[in-house]
């Protein structure tokens, strides 16, 4: 089953995402900021990265930019978890190399539908 990296500084949001995906059979690793996500992404390769935008230490956009410079993350889907109000952030994330986004709030069903969509 596909391996997914969930990056969010909010434990509840990360917990919800990880729990939902694990329940659906995915293998999930968690990271609470962009820096830790980069470390985790070095030690193991993921098929999908879900990342919050606003995080301390390193935000999601800087994380995507860095991840896309790595050959092994070319073409790997990276989705930003953003809020409705953050339309600029969507585009900023895209410019940094994100594949797309998932708009908060989302419920477990929406999350799974989107993940299935990108993982095929």
């Amino acid at each position: 089953m596909a391996k997914i990296l969930a990056v969010d500084d909010s434990a509840s949001m990360r917990g919800m995402v990880a729990f939902t995906l694990r329940s659906a059979g995915y293998e999930v690793a968690e990271a609470e900021n962009g820096q830790l996500a980069l470390d985790t992404a070095s030690s193991s390769r993921f098929d999908l990265v879900l990342a919050d935008v606003n995080m301390p230490v390193m935000d999601g956009i800087s994380m995507v930019r860095e991840l896309r410079t790595r050959a092994e993350y070319k073409g790997v889907p990276i989705l930003m978890l953003t809020t409705e109000s953050n339309t600029d952030k969507k585009m900023e994330g895209k410019a940094a190399g994100a594949t797309g986004w998932l708009v908060k709030p989302f419920d477990p069903e929406q999350l799974l539908a989107t993940v299935k969509r990108v993982l095929g």
């Binding site: 606003n54 070319k74 073409g75 190399g97 994100a98 797309g100 908060k104 477990p108």
Partner: protein
């Protein structure tokens, strides 16, 4: 389909959000003193997380309020607006309002009220937003009956960005019948090809009952990464019949209308503790050591040769050491830094001093000092009271301070530190100190003392802890809360701690709270009463004495008194109090343990003392029910149960009996 119950994440969400609000508040206060941009970012992040979480976890009212706060903060963050006192004030009120909402959410009550609605409008006005009426959804466009012709030319970088045209075309194919024609006009030679760049393009024809919106949704993420045109295929003749009514696929738009969910009240209030990984690792190490020791001892089971006695003893000593370390480490898990309680004071001090026209500098020292979680949760209120008291009564206004030859700004220091097996929290102000005369007058007036002659400073300090005592010369709205220092002392003593006061006239006052490290284990004296065993907490014991029969006086109403250090103390016969069979009846056959709490003493009559021991406290309420005079139970080495005496409770019982 997996169904995930989202309510299971509420507790974590509440916890992290309340922490976020604390962080937001301290950042706002720091900003008030002239902080930097990073503070604004951290405030924004906190608001943003709460907004995202509240919307996700089914609290739309909270999401709506934080949305307004966030847009105002966003303007500050990107420099469209300068931060000013007004915004800080508004944000601080938002913090308070959200705390209220979390309170109500935990109680399963509706979140919004008049205050929060008003605040939402204020925030929106400050951000220059009109609260939009629910935007009318654009009517779903009918599907083109002739189908759609799509030109799709990805930019070179699309593949590396994770949007594979293969996926997009599969999604389109799922909507209707898709005819695909690849365009190879821009394909380079193999040599010149960067295989990670896209040079292909497609002409697509999609037929079926498909709306333009559904197609646009497929391309939503790549609008900026491709040239795209979506045109209806015009049927030659006859003109298209009125289209079948189709409902727009709510791909991205569905998120706008957050479905309100009933906030399921969580009855499980057992609380949780976040534990650092290092603590867990330490525990695992210790368990590893225990396993090794156990294996070592195990070899003696099969064949024990007396010549190996030394090894056995060594093994047992190791076992004892590891058990003790393990106990300490496990207790450590319940320990949390007092900083989480201290954090609320910058705000409180700021608000109070502004209200009273005083200037106060707050020093927090020893925030990392750790306390038992239960103690920590209960120490907040007494500390708040003492801090209010210090600002209200202790510290002077700037002109009074100047007149006394002091600087305008008063200092209030909260300091926590370890002393022996206790935690000490000091609240120190450099104000005027206790007003000895005012206190004595008030005490006389209240009938607490008969005369002010020969009263020591310590005794004056003790007076303010008497029930019903209030020192305020002017009743302010701060002190008129019906909570006196007696309640502070009661709360602290319920935690097994003590409060004392030291005044330096003209130079300030120091309150010292001494608390036990943990409530989970106490040092006690095991005493036999008939067939039962009771544990008396060591901290409360003054002395134990054997009394001759004539030392006891009966008083009217059935009580007994004995003389101890020049005072008459009541005797509580535990066998009578708790109904124990086969207990000794004659005073000379047993022992009297003199115990103290809240400055009152009584003698507990028991059969005999068995010895001192540590007792792991088990809740009696959780396993049986609450019993007056008993604070809990413990299990003894032989597996039997002993009850732990609640000294403060027994003394209260005794004084009630006396009053009756």
């Amino acid at each position: 389909m997996s169904s995930v119950n989202i309510a299971q994440f509420h507790k974590v969400f509440f916890e992290e959000s309340l922490e976020g609000l604390d962080a937001m508040e301290s950042a706002l206060l720091a900003l008030d003193e002239g902080g930097d941009a990073e503070l604004v970012h951290s405030i924004f992040r906190a608001a943003h997380s709460i907004k995202g979480g509240s919307a996700t976890f089914g609290f739309p009212d909270m999401a709506a309020l934080t949305h307004e706060a966030e847009s105002l903060l966003d303007q500050v963050r990107d420099g469209r607006r300068a931060i000013d006192k007004g915004i800080i004030e508004l944000m601080l009120r938002t913090v308070d309002c959200l705390r209220g909402m979390f309170d109500r959410a935990q109680g399963g009550q509706p979140l919004a009220n008049a205050d929060s609605d008003g605040l939402k409008l204020e925030l929106a006005a400050a951000a220059g937003n009109a609260i939009p009426a629910a935007a009318a959804k654009a009517a779903a466009k009918p599907a083109a009956s002739g189908g759609w012709s799509i030109e799709f030319r990805p930019h070179a970088g699309m593949l590396a960005g994770g949007n594979d045209p293969l996926r997009l075309l599969r999604e389109l194919a799922a909507l209707g019948q898709l005819v695909v024609e690849a365009r190879l006009d821009r394909v380079p030679t193999l040599d010149a090809l960067d295989p990670t760049e896209c040079h292909l393009a497609w002409h697509l024809e999609l037929t079926g009952a498909v709306t333009r919106e559904a197609i646009a949704a497929v391309f939503e993420w790549v609008e900026d990464e491709c040239d795209l045109s979506i045109e209806p295929i015009v049927a030659a003749a006859p003109p298209p019949a009125p289209a079948v009514e189709a409902v727009a696929a709510p791909a991205g738009a569905g998120a706008a209308a957050g479905t309100p969910r009933a906030a399921a009240a969580s009855s499980n209030d057992a609380g949780s503790v976040r534990v650092g990984i290092d603590k867990i690792d330490g525990l695992i190490d210790l368990v590893g050591e225990l396993v090794i020791t156990q294996a070592m001892l195990d070899q003696f089971r099969e064949d024990f040769d007396p010549s190996r006695l030394a090894m056995l003893q060594q093994g047992l000593a190791q076992l004892a050491r590891h058990t003790r370390s393990l106990q300490e480490s496990v207790m450590g898990i319940r320990m949390l830094p007092i900083g989480s309680v201290f954090n609320r004071f910058p705000r409180l001090v700021r608000d109070l001093s502004q209200k009273l026209g005083k200037q106060v500098k707050l020093d927090l020292v020893g925030e990392h000092t750790e306390l038992d979680k239960t103690v920590l949760e209960k120490i907040g209120d007494p500390l708040v009271h003492l801090v209010r008291n210090a600002i209200d009564h202790g510290l002077e206004t700037p002109d009074k301070r100047r007149a006394a030859g002091k600087g305008d700004v008063g200092t209030l220091r909260l300091e926590a530190f370890h002393r022996g097996g206790s935690i000490v929290v000091e609240i120190v102000d450099d104000g005027a100190g206790l007003n000895r005369d005012a206190i004595i007058n008030k005490a006389l007036q209240k009938g607490l003392i008969k005369s002010g002659e020969g009263i020591s400073d310590e005794e004056v300090g003790e007076l303010i802890f008497q029930p019903g005592f209030s020192t305020a010369a002017v009743t302010t709205d701060l002190s008129g809360r019906g909570v006196g220092m007696d309640v502070v002392r009661r709360n602290v003593s319920d935690l097994g701690g003590t409060v004392s006061i030291k005044s330096r006239p003209g130079n300030g006052t120091t309150f010292t709270i001494t608390l036990p490290l943990t409530l989970a284990i106490i040092d006690g004296l095991r005493s036999a009463v008939g067939d039962e065993c009771y544990i008396v907490p060591l901290v409360s014991i003054v002395e134990s004495v054997q009394l001759p029969p004539d030392a006891v006086r009966s008083v009217t109403g059935g009580g007994e008194l004995f003389r101890f250090r020049g005072e008459y103390l009541p005797i509580v016969r535990l066998h009578q109090q708790f109904g124990c069979a086969n207990a000794r009846q004659k005073i000379e056959d047993g022992l009297v343990i003199v115990v103290e709490s809240d400055g009152s003493q009584v003698g507990l009559f028991v059969d005999e003392l068995i010895g001192q021991q540590q007792a792991v406290v088990k809740s009696l309420e959780a396993n049986y029910r609450r019993v007056e005079g008993i604070s809990g139970a413990t299990i003894l080495a032989d597996g039997s149960v002993a009850l732990i005496i609640d000294v403060a409770g027994l003394i209260r019982l005794q004084s009630r009996r006396k009053a009756a």
